[in-house]
């Protein structure tokens, strides 16, 4: 009987031990999370977060590159690669004390020289930074200076209020100084295992253009932004690039992917129960159309306002997203720091007002198809250029706009151009070319400073071609203003100016939607983008 009991015990225990061993082994050594993202355009020279402005460049590189500071859920600034910092009273000097135990994936030491090399790269002319340079103040940034091995100073010529928040962004992630010294800017833009070298939780091992990337756990990582000293719990992170949303939806539904990004509301209704959703409203500029105020019919503010009031955005986004996304009242998302214009009315659908404005501007005659024509018989047509792939939800919005605008006599022609074609229409060597009447995008940003890119003269995303001295003054003052309420009022003025001028017409409030299954402890940053350093497979 005794022997039998021992046998029974052995029968129960040995497989259990083996099983536990296997599970443990899977979790800690062999597990791999598959993350499916849209990643549109990333392989067209957008792998360098210092030069690219694409959200995808930031959230992908976040897994590879760390920043000096991080932002917690309440918007507070927390240490990361910098343990502490001080800001001078005049707001022109920031001194950071750095961690002394951090190494890059290629073995290089993280120190003050590495930080200086990174900021030098961001502001270098050859980098042609579309986003990162403006996040450190643009022309106001006077440089990074090494004070000690682990002490670095960032100097400004003018105060730049959002600097600390912006330093938490992946756009200002820290490259290995060896990469910055040895690789050309072309190579850095193209990215790859020898180039995307940071201090982050994952190391890029393989990259197949437009197909996938394989990231392996950084076994030295113990400087996570949440303060944990654990290395990532999964062995690898496989990123699949799938531009087609329905394919991403199928991948997460079938379990081919563990995490899926860039999903819209319409996908969510069909996902199986075991798939969990994280939705975070995106801060920054909502998905909007940018009316080119310097071109053809949109030079006339009445035509721009008629356009803005001439389509029912609420109806369009209800159809496109089935109630998952909201209509914005202003050109800043309500989740952007300090800045929402409470009194904003937005461009609510007012076809009578739109007709009146067009009549006032002399567009009184109509052709056989019902479109307005000028005295010479030229039709009131506006050309909207986007780039491919153009999401089907956005196509639904276009369809509604085409129909609504036809009712007031405006012909809207939309075209989704190939990225290279779009780039050629957008800018050339002389700067912004804007060879279209309107274009579209949303722009994530925690700080309202993002309006400077879009509305200040010379702003790199000023697709509305605005050059207004008053707007420039408000935006310039807001960038340096230390008083929160005064700053809020300055941005309110900018938003009110836009309501009167319709340079930017907001259409819907985007949100970062991430679906995941059988994954625990996945965390999300302030933009709602996933962070994998603590995640593991169940």
């Amino acid at each position: 009987m005794k022997i039998k009991f021992k046998k029974l015990l052995a029968t129960l225990i040995i497989p259990s031990v083996l099983l536990v061993g296997c599970v443990d082994n899977l979790q800690d050594n062999n597990s791999e999370i598959t993350w499916v993202i849209a990643g549109n355009n990333l392989f067209n020279g957008h792998m360098d977060p210092h030069s690219s402005q694409l959200d995808a460049s930031a959230y992908l590189n976040r897994q590879i590159f760390d920043s000096l500071v991080s932002v917690d859920d309440d918007g507070g600034i927390k240490p990361w690669l910098a343990t502490e910092w001080s800001v001078s009273d005049d707001g022109l000097s920031y001194i950071f004390k750095l961690r002394e135990d951090v190494t890059f994936h290629d073995g290089e030491k993280f120190d003050a020289n590495a930080v200086k090399a990174n900021f030098d790269h961001v502001i270098a002319k050859s980098t042609e930074s579309a986003q990162a340079a403006s996040m450190i103040g643009g022309d106001s940034f006077a440089g990074a200076f090494v004070l000690d091995d682990y002490l670095v100073e960032l100097k400004l010529s003018n105060p730049f209020r959002p600097l600390l928040v912006n330093l938490s962004s992946a756009f200002l992630g820290m490259y290995s100084p060896k990469v910055l010294a040895e690789k050309s800017q072309g190579e850095i833009r193209a990215g790859g295992p020898e180039v995307q070298v940071g201090t982050g939780p994952f190391i890029l091992r393989e990259s197949v253009t437009n197909v996938e990337m394989l990231l392996e756990r950084n076994n030295d990582y113990h400087w996570a932004p949440d303060g944990s000293r654990d290395i990532p719990r999964v062995n690898a992170l496989r990123i699949l690039f799938v531009p087609d949303e329905s394919a991403r939806e199928i991948a997460i539904s079938r379990g081919d992917a563990d995490v899926a990004s860039n999903l819209s509301g319409i996908s969510l209704s069909t996902l199986p129960a075991e798939v969990h959703i994280n939705k975070t409203p995106s801060p920054g500029v909502p998905y909007s159309v940018y009316l080119n105020t310097k071109r053809d019919v949109f030079k006339d503010v009445n035509v721009r306002l008629a356009f803005a009031y001439g389509f029912d955005a609420k109806k369009a986004i209800e159809a496109a997203f089935q109630g998952e996304n909201e209509w914005p009242l202003s050109i800043l998302s309500p989740t952007t720091a300090q800045s929402y214009l409470d009194t904003a009315k937005g461009f609510a659908y007012q076809p009578d007002l739109a007709n009146k404005l067009l009549d006032e501007s002399g567009w009184t005659s109509k052709d056989a198809e019902g479109y307005r024509v000028d005295a010479a018989g030229k039709r009131l047509t506006v050309y909207w250029a986007s780039w491919t792939p153009f999401p089907p939800e956005h196509q639904v919005i276009v369809n509604f706009m085409v129909d609504d605008l036809k009712q007031i006599g405006i012909e809207l022609i939309h075209e989704a151009l190939e990225p290279a074609q779009y780039q050629a229409a957008y800018s050339d060597a002389n700067g912004l070319k804007l060879d279209f009447d309107l274009t579209d995008w949303s722009f994530a940003s925690l700080d309202p400073i993002v309006l400077s890119n879009h509305l200040a003269s010379g702003g790199y995303q000023n697709a509305s071609a605005v050059s207004d001295a008053e707007v420039d003054a408000w935006l310039g003052q807001a960038a340096i203003e230390q008083d929160t309420e005064k700053r809020r009022l300055l941005y309110q003025k900018v938003q009110e100016w836009n309501e009167a001028n319709a340079a930017i017409v907001p259409i819907y409030l985007p949100q970062s939607v991430v679906a995941f299954r059988d994954v625990a402890d996945l965390s999300f940053d302030s933009y709602g983008w996933p962070l994998f350093y603590s995640a593991y497979l169940l």
């Binding site: 159809a319 089907p392 639904v396």
Partner: protein, 273 residues
């Protein structure tokens, strides 16, 4: 096991299916030429009633923008057929001209045949895609691409038929009687070449329709929000799990049109046989 067809049925030139095919094609032509007569909604007219299943108000349902699929299909008929008919007419005219020219300049037969063989080695859709890579996307571009893609096959058939005609007894006799090459092209070559090429062209409309629809499906042809069968199929492809009708009906129209054209070709073959 073989099944022998009754002699009576073999002799019948017009089947019930032939009537059906003609009736269907007549409707298609009417839809293409007078879409306004059948339409109850505009092709671009949106509504909040998105993804409605087929019902009495919307016979083929509505799409993701609340547009009536039946009406968009009607308005899309013109674009789909226009590309197919234009390309076939172009291919027909070019191939007839080539047939006539090689019967005058007989030394050019071999080189023309080799040139068409080289192009025939490339699948039609691939050839069309190559052309579009150069021209860019758009309705006219797709028309040109399809025309170039289908042309080699027409030229090849035209060359084979021309060679048959040139070695036939009546051509030999005509030559012995001293009829000039130029004259015999119009009296002998063209009248004997035309029926064969017409037969090919009838089915060719279907082939061109499928290629044009495929290119529009890939987003290279008619641009949204304008309707076209291939483009509509593409729009509905992402909605298959939610709203099958958006893709189903345009796809069905392409299928039925190609079947009807095949039946008409079979009828023509019986008539000319």
């Amino acid at each position: 096991m073989t099944v022998s067809t009754p002699l009576k049925a073999q002799k019948r030139l017009v089947h019930f299916g032939t009537y059906l095919a003609f009736a269907f094609l007549l409707v298609i032509v009417l839809l293409a030429v007078f879409p306004g007569l059948f339409a109850t909604f505009g092709p671009l007219e949106t509504s909040e009633n998105v993804r409605q299943a087929p019902n009495l108000e919307h016979l083929f349902g509505t799409d993701a923008s609340g547009r009536d699929v039946f009406n968009r299909m009607i308005f899309g008929t013109g674009a789909s057929l226009l590309i197919a008919l234009t390309t076939v007419t172009f291919a027909l005219l070019v191939s007839l001209t080539v047939g006539m020219l090689v019967s005058i300049f007989r030394g050019s037969q071999k080189i023309t045949a080799k040139a068409s063989d080289v192009l025939l080695a490339i699948p039609e859709l691939l050839l069309a895609l190559i052309v579009l890579a150069v021209l860019g996307k758009g309705t006219i571009q797709v028309g040109v691409a399809v025309a170039i893609a289908v042309l080699p096959a027409y030229i090849r058939v035209s060359l084979i038929r021309t060679r048959e005609i040139l070695v036939s007894g009546f051509m030999v006799t005509s030559k012995q009687l001293g009829v000039s090459k130029f004259k015999s092209v119009f009296t002998h070559v063209l009248p004997n070449l035309l029926p064969r090429m017409l037969l090919m062209a009838v089915l060719g409309v279907g082939t061109s329709l499928v290629i044009a629809s495929s290119l529009s499906f890939l987003g290279l042809g008619v641009q949204p929000p304008n309707p076209e069968w291939g483009a509509m199929l593409s729009e509905g492809r992402l909605e298959l799990s939610r709203a099958w009708w958006i893709s189903f009906f345009p796809g069905l129209m392409v299928l039925l049109t190609v079947l009807a054209l095949a039946e008409v070709r079979a009828w023509l073959k019986r008539v000319f046989a």
